[in-house]
Symmetry: C2
Subunit: 199 residues, 2 copies
């Protein structure tokens, strides 16, 4: 890898560490930075550190936030009786982009995974239960993943909330919209069949 | 795009400007930076600016360099009678990686393109000719691209060097090694057939 000046190699190596970026892409990105106006490189450089230093987790829902409490938790127009439980901040963003939900969120920051030593104490389940204490939340929507760990986490939380005066729901799983049945895996298809509904 | 804190959105937008990086990838990279150790983010941030400020073009061949003259031009073990002409620094790196060439380089920093107003004066042809003045170079290898503009540039340079005491060669084009004939385009195949050689 000694074909570039060592300074440029350092940058290529740094970029290579980013997820999903191989050597060729890293070279291409470094070349772009080298040819870009200095202002663009400066902004990128500055914002990398700004994000590291100033983005925190919301003290209520644990989403990324630039203040103590995130925009959604602060937003009085959101339906405060609805609470959606997700694994990661990115899941929350995906739901927000769908525009299908106007309630609040609770981010677990993980998923139950006994194989990896992640039990109920390692994810934010205690915080979820304490958010429900004042009985203002009427429905908890479990929107953890539909893989084994996500399902186990949803079941565990449903179990823990069983005796509380709150409705617990789970997002539907089935054939993706626009999906061609012949390309859908068997497990999804079975699930879609089992949870069929009247039209 | 108001789903992330604005500081994080700024970084995602900066990353989106990089070539070949879409919104989803930019989000993923920003998340990685957010979760990475501060040292890693610091290095990335610092090296982006270092590269902008300290990488220059070699005053002889015009490759990227961290000094006035690049490592290859300074290297006394390279064959100084051989000069390979390429369009861009990345082309030089590709040839270096192939390990098939031990001479020096001349980077044109472009290619002839009358449609875009790029004539012989806009690329480093004058510098090439002045490098040949002392007649030390015995062979100029034209390694511009094999597309229309690259071929035109190679022809133009060959024409300009016709009366000089220097051998002018062109890299071969043909079927890529490991290529299956049925997937090779017709133009390449015709070229490979025309330039067939004895075995």
């Amino acid at each position: 890898m000694g074909y570039y000046p060592s300074l440029l190699m350092d940058l290529i190596r740094n970029i290579c560490r980013l997820p999903g970026i191989g050597e060729k892409t890293a070279e291409r990105l470094a070349m772009h930075i080298l040819n870009a106006p200095r202002g663009e490189a400066e902004q990128l450089s500055r914002n990398i550190l700004k994000v590291k230093d100033r983005i925190k987790l919301c003290s209520i829902c644990s989403a990324f936030s630039d203040g103590e409490i995130c925009d959604i938790c602060r937003d009085r127009t959101r339906v405060s009786t609805l609470l959606c439980v997700v694994e990661q901040p990115a899941d929350m963003v995906a739901i927000e982009k769908s525009g299908s939900y106007k309630g609040l969120y609770h981010i677990l920051q993980g998923v139950l995974s006994p194989m990896n030593g992640i039990g109920p104490d390692k994810i934010r389940i205690r915080e979820l239960i304490s958010r429900l204490k004042d009985n203002k939340v009427k429905e908890v929507v479990l929107a953890t993943g539909t893989n084994v760990e996500g399902e186990a986490t949803a079941s565990y939380i449903a179990q823990r909330l069983k005796d509380r005066p709150v409705k617990v729901t789970r997002i539907a799983s089935g054939v993706p919209v626009g999906g061609d049945l012949k390309y859908v895996d068997q497990v999804t298809l079975r699930k879609a069949m089992e949870t069929r509904h009247d039209v």
